[in-house]
Each structure stands twice: as structure tokens, then as C-alpha cells.
Symmetry: C2
Subunit: 203 residues, 2 copies
Amino acid sequence: MPSMKDTIIGVAIDLFHRQGYFATSISEIAGQCGIQKASIYYHYPSKENILFHIQQVTMEELTAYLRGNLEGLTDVEDRMRVAVRSHVRFHLNRQKETFIANTELRGLTPEHYQEIVDKRDGYEKIFQGIIRAGCEAGLFATADVRILSYAILTLCNAGAIWFNPQGRMAVDAIADIYEKFVLRGLKAGRLTALGPTPANQTG
Amino acid sequence: MPSMKDTIIGVAIDLFHRQGYFATSISEIAGQCGIQKASIYYHYPSKENILFHIQQVTMEELTAYLRGNLEGLTDVEDRMRVAVRSHVRFHLNRQKETFIANTELRGLTPEHYQEIVDKRDGYEKIFQGIIRAGCEAGLFATADVRILSYAILTLCNAGAIWFNPQGRMAVDAIADIYEKFVLRGLKAGRLTALGPTPANQTG
DNA sequence: GTCTATATTTTGATAGAC
DNA sequence: GTCTATCAAAATATAGAC
């Protein structure tokens, strides 16, 4: 049986995801928790603090999950594949929280905003390190590392927007598609087309 | 000299982009237009209608821009390259509007929401048609067309979030990076790596 | 076409009883 | 730990003068 503190977070995640932070009121949250709105303030000092708590926990767990998955891996391509899969899997399994973490930054106080942005920067730096290593090894086509990292992360976020846990596609099948797309997109080297129009290649 | 009707839209685009739709009030919009909040209602019947107007115009112009750029092109790979460039260019040149169109759907009435989603579906179908043609021609690696189209569109949206018109990178340089990444990601065929670890390739 | 004034509702948050 | 009662502020929107 979850504590009321946890119930509030769960309800808030649901409502912030569905309606947005500013469109959700404290009384709505309280209503779905089965308590009065004044009772919320016994558990959390403000509405902003609930949002901050969600973002903080989500970013910490996202980063810990990635670090755990990368542990022990040294091959650059392996690390990139695992990083993409880790990112996709977390976003599909934690759809609502990651959506909130990606879109509701503006609801935070300046101090909390900075704290979350710092955490996000740290997460992105892990990807940028792998991309840079791949470029230096001549494995990946050289391009702006920051732009590539944003592109990859945003691309993988896409799944979380339309993914339906009850739908026909499994998390791993989607991770597969993204992994292949990203690795192909990154790779240096010549493409030898298999199709009927091999003259079209430019790469 | 712009009409007050246009000024209101311009100010609203700015504020919705910076603070979000729900966090922006009618009096703020009026204040930046140099009029009283009641005067807003002479030009637009509601705050929601201002948001709807922005979304409607943005989606129509985005689609018209893509159609215009694709006109006359028949080669599948050409069409894909041009479609990606068109999408990226529009998003970088119209940063604020496209950001609003991507994130503020929840502020619309159910009827208006449906209208915008229909427009967006129509836009996505153009991309899906190109991807499907490329797969059937054996040019692109076969995968779920819908997932690929979302991945490509979201990936290209990424640029609009961090792009600084006064920054060091030009629109076309960014479009280049995305175009190459997407085309490589889509292509069927074997990769012949140029780097020092050719044994790493998995196809 | 813009103003002042105002109606109505709702918000986030607090005080204090139990 | 939850309640009732309430505050002060702000929101969207309307009425009617100019």
C-alpha cells in the first residue's frame, strides 16, 4: 500500500502528463487522491515542489539506468548501441515522467530549473563522449557532436509520445528500429545499395 | 505597419513560446500590444482562438512549403532529401510557431484539436508515402513506416529547440547534417567502414 | 477600435480545529 | 494527517461609454 506522499506523485504524474502542469490544479490532484486540497500541503510545500520532485527523480533514474547499462563496455559501437537502447527503453517504460521532464521545465523556479538542466546536461555528455570517441576512431562520420547528440536523443524520445503499452509493438522491437537507424546514421563509410537504382547513391 | 490583429498574433507567438499557453494571460498579451485586455476581445473571441489561429496558419504554411518544394521531383531519394531539408528549414526559420504547434495542442477545444491533428496527419502522410516508395524500390531498409516517419520528423524538430539565429551555424549547414543522417539511417545496403575497426560492422 | 469598470470563477496557499 | 474555512490575487470574459 503506497503512502499518501507517493499517491500524490502518482496522480500528479498522470495529470501533468495528460493536461500539462499549468492546466492542472492542486484541487484536481487532491480530488483524485481522495483528500482535500489543503491536505496536499502537509506532504509538499507547493505545487512547484511536486513538479520538481518528479523531474529530479526521473532524471536521476534515467542517468543511473544508462550508467548501469554501459558498465564494463569498452567497444565504442557497443556502447552506442546500448546507450540508444537504454534511452529508448527507459522512455517507453516511463512514458509519462519522461514526457513531463521534457516539456514542463518552464514550471520550475529558476534554482530548480538550473538543477534539472544541469542533470540533463550531464546525461547528454555521456552520449557526446561516445559520439566523439566514435568520430576519433574513424567509425562515425564526423559532424557537430552536440547537434548529433540532440538529434539522437530527440529522435528516441519520439517513441514515448505515441507508444501504447497495450499496442501491437513491444518495447524491444521499437528499440531495435531506433538502434539500427541511429547506428546507420552515424556510421562513416560507403553505402553499397542493394536496390535496383545503385547509381543513386551519393554517400 | 501591421494591423492590431497581426500585432496580437506576433506578441502571442512570442509569449506562448517563452512561457507556454496556460502560463500566459490575456492581460500580458494586451500589455505588450500597448492596449487594455478588454480590447483583445474586439479582435479575437477568446484566448483559445488566438492559439488556434497560430496553429492553423503554421500547419497550413508548413504543408504548403513542403508541397511546393517537392513539386516536379520524381526520384525517391531526391524527394526524401528535399522533404527533410524543407522540414528543417521551415522549423529553423519559424522556430516559435513550430514549437507552439508541437507542444501546445492541449490548449485547444476538442473540435479545434481534431482539426489541427488532421492537418498534421496529412503532413506526415507525405513523408510516409516517400518512405514507403523507397522501401518498395529496395532503396530504404524495410521497417515500420509510421515509426520511421515520426522518428525523422521529431529528429528534425530538435534543431528548432536549440537553434540560435544569431549563432555560429547557418540554417543550411544544419539542414545538411540532418539530411545526411536521415538518408544514411534510411538506406538499405552494406556499410563498408573506413575506420580502423572494420570487423565491427554488423550490416 | 479602445477605454473603464466589473462580473464570475478559480487559483495557490494558510490558519487552526480535531 | 486530514479537515473546514478563508484569504488575496489573478484569471477569462462581458457591458457599455466614448
